[in-house]
């Protein structure tokens, strides 16, 4: 048998060989045939200390932080399909923290600070690129409102600058600042620390690092029921049998109401399709993320060269993972006028994901009336950017059975107390 190419390699805390230029060279000698698997595919054990339902970015991040920060390593992630096959692989990968309310600033900037060191923490290239996120205004009212918001955001220590059309033109040469178009560019605000990351890599990086610490990641295993004994969770019924656990965290985005119903937990969530599309790839042209509230449009260029465009949510509930054509059509009509070069590009792919929209456009990170059952949902149209922060605080909630300072305002009881975190329109983009 050939000698393992990873002999003598530097290792992750759990013993997995690290990825590095040296491991690349070592593995080149065996024609890249002997790379270690990034994670195992174990059969579920009979019981775990905690089970996370949902193998997307948020769920895998939760598992990783449970193991890395709280030393809970006898845990499992149960995923009905494949890792990152839901909204983690369907979003437009935008990262920013320019939210207005203090509670939002706390959690989204917590996430952004984690993003900044995440590639090193996970030893996985997340292609995190702080290329700046520019939100454009199309009316005087919107511009004034934007200035007000920028001041509020800056008071929370989050970078934001208002730009005029000439400054925007300099930053984004392909933009059309002609004042006569339907959605004229009157100004905008820029968060320079914002940007993009490779969405699949986020799921894979967390999965590999969690697996390294002993977390069982069980794919193709659908949860079919939540077993309760009185007011306490006992475990999950799955297509691979019953798995016992005193703690169950649900991180399933669009399907959270379906899962909640299995344990008689009700949520204020509406599941809606959110659509995105990419163009054929072109040479580097756009090195900023641009978003528009009024149009419900966001655009960036991927490292492959595709223009990635996202639209607003569809107007009716759906679990179909596809949307309605008028929604992207409206977005494209405006995008083509604002960025005339787009008119010559062909669309390569178009897809939808089911997002869990919440009445106040803020997430739910909460205990429930069922002891040991936790929900992390309601991220709606903007969950990707929060992935590390969401997992970090949710792991804290599960491990300690009480929310930390960042997570506390996101409890379900805010819908009874009225202490909503109303980010409708207050966030950098309309939800």
């Amino acid at each position: 048998m050939a000698e393992s190419p990873d002999r003598g390699a530097r290792r992750l805390p759990g013993g997995k060989p690290k990825y590095s230029i040296f491991s690349l060279l070592r593995n080149a000698r065996s024609y890249h045939q002997d790379w270690q698997r990034a994670w195992r595919s174990p059969e579920p054990k009979k019981s775990y200390d905690a089970i996370i339902i949902g193998g997307g970015g948020h769920g895998l991040a939760t598992a990783y932080y449970l193991a890395a920060v709280h030393r809970m390593t006898n845990i499992a992630v149960v995923e009905k399909g494949w890792l990152g096959g839901g909204n983690t692989g369907r979003n437009t990968t935008i990262i920013r923290s320019n939210y207005m309310w203090d509670e939002s600033a706390a959690i989204y900037d917590h996430a952004l600070k984690l993003w900044e060191g995440l590639t090193q923490d996970l030893n996985f290239n997340l292609m995190f690129s702080q290329r700046g996120v520019l939100t454009i205004a199309h009316s005087w009212h919107e511009l004034r409102e934007m200035s007000r918001r920028v001041h509020a955001i800056r008071l929370n220590g989050i970078d934001s600058d208002v730009l005029n059309p000439d400054q925007i033109k300099k930053l984004v040469p392909m933009i059309n600042i002609d004042p006569s178009i339907r959605y004229p560019v009157m100004g905008g605000f820029l968060q320079r620390r914002g940007g993009t990351a490779r969405h699949d890599a986020v799921a894979w990086g967390y999965a590999r690092a969690a697996d390294d610490l002993g977390v069982d990641i069980i794919q193709n295993c659908e949860v079919t029921g939540l077993r309760r004994k009185g007011n306490r969770i006992e475990g999950v019924e799955t297509t691979k049998g019953f798995i016992k656990s005193p703690k169950v965290g649900c991180v399933v985005a669009g399907h959270c109401s379906v899962l909640g119903a299995m344990a008689d937990v009700r949520l204020p969530i509406a599941s809606r399709p959110l659509q995105a599309l990419v163009s054929e790839p072109i040479k580097p042209e756009l090195d900023t993320v641009i978003m528009s509230n009024a149009v419900h449009m966001y655009i960036s260029q991927s490292d492959k060269g595709e223009m990635v465009l996202g639209a607003g949510v569809d107007k009716y509930n759906s679990y179909a993972q596809r949307g309605s054509f008028p929604v992207p059509e409206h977005m494209i009509a405006a995008a083509v006028e604002i960025f005339p070069i787009l008119s010559r590009l062909r669309m390569l792919r178009h897809w939808g994901g089911i997002v869990d929209t919440c009445p106040d456009a803020s997430p739910i990170i909460s205990k429930t009336d069922v002891k040991g059952l936790y929900f992390n949902c309601g991220w709606g149209t903007g969950g990707f950017k929060a992935t590390p922060g969401s997992g970090h605080v949710f792991a804290d909630l599960i491990a300690n059975d009480q929310p930390n300072k960042i997570a506390a305002p996101y409890a379900l009881d805010r819908f009874q107390t009225g202490l909503l975190i109303d980010e409708h329109g207050a966030a950098g983009v309309a939800h």
């Binding site: 379906v258 009716y316 679990y319 054509f325 819908f415 009874q416 009225g418």
Partner: protein, 121 residues
């Protein structure tokens, strides 16, 4: 793209309509005697089924009238369209109505005239 059969105007493109969300949410009349948690059921808690969903639609760009519909949230098929103020008549619609957790909530019980002293709102 949906073709929605408006009960007044006939089949029209979905862009003419807006969706008003879950149907049959009754406002509690005994609002001062129920708890905040129970009032939240009415105000914020929403049915969000994967399958048959009873919801309200408005033909915005046509007759501007509201109607109810039973629609499948996976196939998007409209199973039944029925007037405001009435209950579904199809088997799928009836099952969705009876099966909704909302039927068992305190907020719905508090929406019945009998929940208020003297039987009047």
């Amino acid at each position: 793209m949906l073709l929605i059969d408006c009960p007044h105007c006939g089949p029209r493109d979905e862009t003419e309509f807006s969706c008003g969300g879950e149907a049959h949410i009754a406002r509690p009349l005994a609002e001062n005697s129920i708890t905040d948690a129970e009032f939240a059921e009415y105000l914020f808690w929403r049915d969000n089924p994967k399958g048959v969903f009873l919801e309200r639609w408005c033909h915005d760009a046509g007759c501007r009238k509201w109607f109810n519909a039973a629609r499948d949230t996976v196939s998007h098929a409209f199973l039944e369209i029925y007037p405001m103020g009435s209950l579904p008549k199809s088997d799928a619609g009836k099952a969705a109505y009876a099966g909704s957790w909302r039927r068992k909530t305190a907020s719905e019980a508090a929406a019945k005239p009998s929940s208020v002293k003297g039987g009047k709102a």
